[in-house]
Subunit: 227 residues, 4 copies
DNA sequence: CATGAATGAGAGTTCATTCAT
DNA sequence: TATGAATGAACTCTCATTCAT
């Protein structure tokens, strides 16, 4: 959920945006038209800001990121950024929540609860990997954000809430003796670490992106965690 | 040249490194002794700068790091830093190389080539984990450095050179069908990822630091990569 | 022209002023009615702007005053302010003239030309003091305006014109040897300074607001200027 | 006394400066040389900053004051101001204390306790008036500072402490039935108001600066407060 | 060598004003 | 007419680097 510091200045807008961003079930750019008589903050501009920021962080790193550069990249004036975000911090926190939420949402996409566990896990592993590769700019953003002065407890709490379903699934698999009976956190991190490292290898070109390699990489993970 | 006062931890490191790896020794000396006529007047000050920098990065992050803060923490004047390093960039690059080299050196410490492979790998896994936990400030520094504007190709190349022996060992184990016949990079990253994720769990307190848990965590890794 | 809704305090003022001073009436109307075809669409909004501005200046000072804050406090959009005033400067100048005129008008309210001079002066002293206390926001506005970049010669001239009657009365008292034969400006400022300082003491609570204290304070002034 | 936030970064320096600024008995620019081996903050630069600030406030007002303008006027770089003052606020508070202290100190200069009260008061009245006229830039600064966001309780307290002697003298005169038996605050403000208004008239040219006029103006004040 | 005051470019942020709706 | 998002110049403050001492 977006915290009380929200997105912009307009209280009404902020509250609506908060519930929507939190769920990421709707594309927020559509919710801004509800009252056409009044000029409103523009979802497209929000998109542009997000896109610009992710792109810049991928290119020049989070620490080199300036508001002026974001504005230029997004085709806006510097001041305009402050119409949408109260400060640089708010902007980064907002984009963090967006990226984090999207990432979490991607994980269980297309999950078939009736399929065998191994297939389900493999699908999720693939989901996550593909998301990492496709939205690499967001990944870079997230990894850098974790190590930045902006990473707060509020940010930390978000993660826990987002992967609730995921944790439940792991626990179920453990109960059915499909996964090893070790602390859940160990299984989760083993899985996440595997995706992360594999994606890094694929991106750097050290490992060529073939289905075989993907299967091998998942195999290393699965053989480690399966009962 | 390191002056008479230049003993302490710096000298110690070098001696230890020498017994382990010729490469490491050579590299280590290069970093701090090149251009000895001008720089490196006083090893103790160099130590103080390194300690100060690592401590500050752990506390406030790489992006909040200022030369003034380093100087204050090290008990020096700002200008003095520029006697030892030409610029902030050089300071960071130097410390990166130092931390990276120490980390690599720690990996194979106490390795017994006559012991069974699994024991040797477990020892190395533990070596690396302990190093990560003990020198956490350096770990934070390194992780942040990877994502910083200062991380260059030169920095990237260093890693490859440092883990040559490590790569060779993996390849040998593969040849003996002890490890799976998958790309070496996959095995290396699987191993590294496992150490990294486990260390994170231990530091955050999510996983209590007991020998049992360590064994479990290593088990997840080993079962994944073993043939 | 003030529309049908433009009654309220604004219309009231004008009527009151009319009974007191022709000059004030004329002036007052000039300020708010000039260029009536374009500006002054809605007297209520004008009122709201004035009230909002005075309130904000009392709370946060003239230098912290922003157009956005005025609009918010008045319940309008920022752009709307520019329908009523060409610029921030014009808004401030307009409100200055309004406050200054009201202050001057208050001075001679209820004056009885047939009463003894001392009583008449005391009444005026009290008039002024009460006005200062009651319309403290305006007083703060004026005092800050004098020292602001917006205080121009035009502003300066206004004062002189407004207190013409007052000056005449002083001169008459001097001619009758009721007041000392010293430059009129000295008498006027002595009087004004006394009111100002007394009001400050009352507001700060240093001096308790009783009739006795008021009489004492006026006594200090009167004993100084009387012949 | 200068508060704990002091003048600059060097703790030692700051503490010394604090005691000296508080008393204004020494010229602070001389106290910075005590250790010639080390480059220290420069009293002349402090002077230049003060001079520049007062001059600018007289010319363009406190609200138009920018750090860039101060630096330019003082012949320094912007950043240099922040060597001497932690922020714009500190700078203004520091200069307020300086001006206020100097003003208070001027009041009783040359006082002869054996002289008759009226002469003593007249001398002080003149002292204050001359100071106001001579250091007009400081006066403008002070008057604007009172109405600025920077005027705090700390600033307010300073005044009370500075005029202790002055208050005592008034009380003594009251006890001897030389001044009226009215609240001391009333007498003090009557006196201060008289000086203020007279100075304004002289500066504006409304009143020509002659000994006669000065005597008349003081007479208005004295006749008001004398028993 | 060591010092730390001085520098000034560049960062984040504000706000009077405009203008499409 | 009324709106409020958009603008960009100008503000305060930071910090890597230099240099006189």
């Amino acid at each position: 959920m977006v915290g009380p510091r929200g997105v912009g200045r307009c209280g009404e807008m902020r509250r609506r945006a908060a519930t929507v961003w939190g769920l990421v079930l709707a594309f927020y750019e559509h919710i801004f038209d509800y009252d056409a008589a009044v000029k409103l903050k523009d979802g497209e501009k929000l998109q542009a800001i997000a896109r610009a920021t992710f792109a810049l962080v991928e290119r020049t790193g989070l620490s080199g990121l300036t508001m002026a550069a974001i504005a230029r990249e997004a085709g806006l004036a510097t001041g305009t950024l402050y119409v949408y975000f109260k400060s640089k911090e708010e902007l980064l926190v907002g984009l963090y929540e967006r990226a984090k939420t999207e990432t979490a949402a991607s994980l269980m996409s297309g999950d078939d609860p009736s399929a065998p566990f191994r297939s389900r896990f493999q699908r999720m592993w693939n989901n996550w990997l593909q998301h990492r590769l496709k939205h690499y700019a967001q990944v870079v953003f997230l990894e850098q954000y974790y190590n930045s002065p902006w990473f707060s407890d509020a940010s930390r709490n978000l993660s826990a809430r987002l992967i609730k379903d995921w944790t439940d699934l792991i626990d179920a698999a453990k109960a059915q003796q499909i996964l090893k009976d070790v602390p859940t956190a160990l299984l989760i991190n083993s899985f996440g670490g595997s995706v992360r490292e594999t994606a890094n290898l694929l991106r750097s070109g050290t490992l060529v992106h073939t289905d075989t390699h993907l299967a091998l990489a998942f195999g290393l993970c699965w053989d480690g965690i399966k009962a």
